[in-house]
Symmetry: C2
Subunit: 185 residues, 2 copies
């Protein structure tokens, strides 16, 4: 599998990748073990600090690992990884080592202990910022403290989950830049 | 403009339309006035009750209307409405009547005072469920209490905002249903 070469990317601009609503792969490490989960319930919350909200169901093996470590990495897979995304979503880290099982590369992050997934288009290192709604809604607010993004394509083909085993695919672009007021861009 | 005929849809299944992360149009009514805003920062939070989280920036004219009324409607535009979406995002309800300005039809909702947008593919009536994070993050948690969806297409072409005036388009489908464990569907 291809491992795109990634460069630093401004954390205040990660909305370019997350606001469109793709399925992401969330990697974690706790007590020396790693795990990966698929996640589609997330939202951008702020540009600076770069805040995102993730609903991580308590039934996931990753839930306690992320809660205890206070860290994770949000990785952006493209359609090239569709079958791996499905495989990761249909298995549990309680039973298998997902990096080994799916042939993925755990790369060292810069600011968190959780690993980056080398085969993804982008990886966003996260610190837990606010757990006020974790008890009630399993809703974690993270600050993205470091972003790594492949230089091209600028708008990769991503997966957007609809439930029922069906993904929508994004990739085609419509620009209306000229119709925006400058302060709205 | 076309006004698709919509039918009741199970509120516990709205993730089909919202989880893929489309730009939505949020309509509101307060003190006899209506408004519409574009919004891309949202996430599904729960199937039943059907909960969604929306980050509504306090700079929007809609913010106070939605906070005071405790209601809104989340409407799903397709790419047929691209220029209207851009127009709504680049104007303020403090200055214009957006329904009139953009030729949209305010239809009566069943359970809230805020209007449905007739030209959208789907409309989800919302009651404010939890405002615990409104003060800190402008993050509203709504319960969808009624859903109206056009019967076809099942997966309409939707807009996914990346910032900088650029939208990604979703519509093409990949199904991996056969590879999911039944309990994961």
């Amino acid at each position: 599998m291809r491992r795109p070469r990634k460069s630093d990317f401004p954390v205040s601009e990660v909305r370019r990748y997350l606001e469109p609503g793709p399925i992401v792969l969330v990697s974690s490490r706790c007590d020396g073990k790693t795990n990966i989960m698929t996640l589609g319930w997330h939202t951008v919350l702020e540009f600076s600090p770069s805040l995102v909200g993730l609903m991580i169901s308590a039934g996931n093996h990753s839930f306690q690992m992320i809660r205890d470590s206070g860290e994770c990495v949000i990785n952006l897979p493209t359609t090239a990884l569709t079958d791996i995304v499905v495989g990761i979503g249909n298995t549990s880290g309680a039973e298998i080592d997902k990096f080994a099982e799916f042939g993925l590369t755990a790369e060292k992050a810069a600011k968190v202990g959780a690993p980056l997934i080398g085969e993804c288009h982008a990886s966003f290192e996260c610190h837990l910022h606010d757990d006020a709604l974790v008890g009630r809604y399993n809703f974690f607010i993270f600050e993205i403290v470091k972003a790594h993004v492949a230089a091209s394509p600028k708008h990769p083909e991503t997966l957007h989950y609809t439930g029922d085993g069906v993904f929508m695919v994004s990739g085609k672009i419509i620009s209306r830049r000229s119709k925006f007021r400058p302060e709205m861009l």
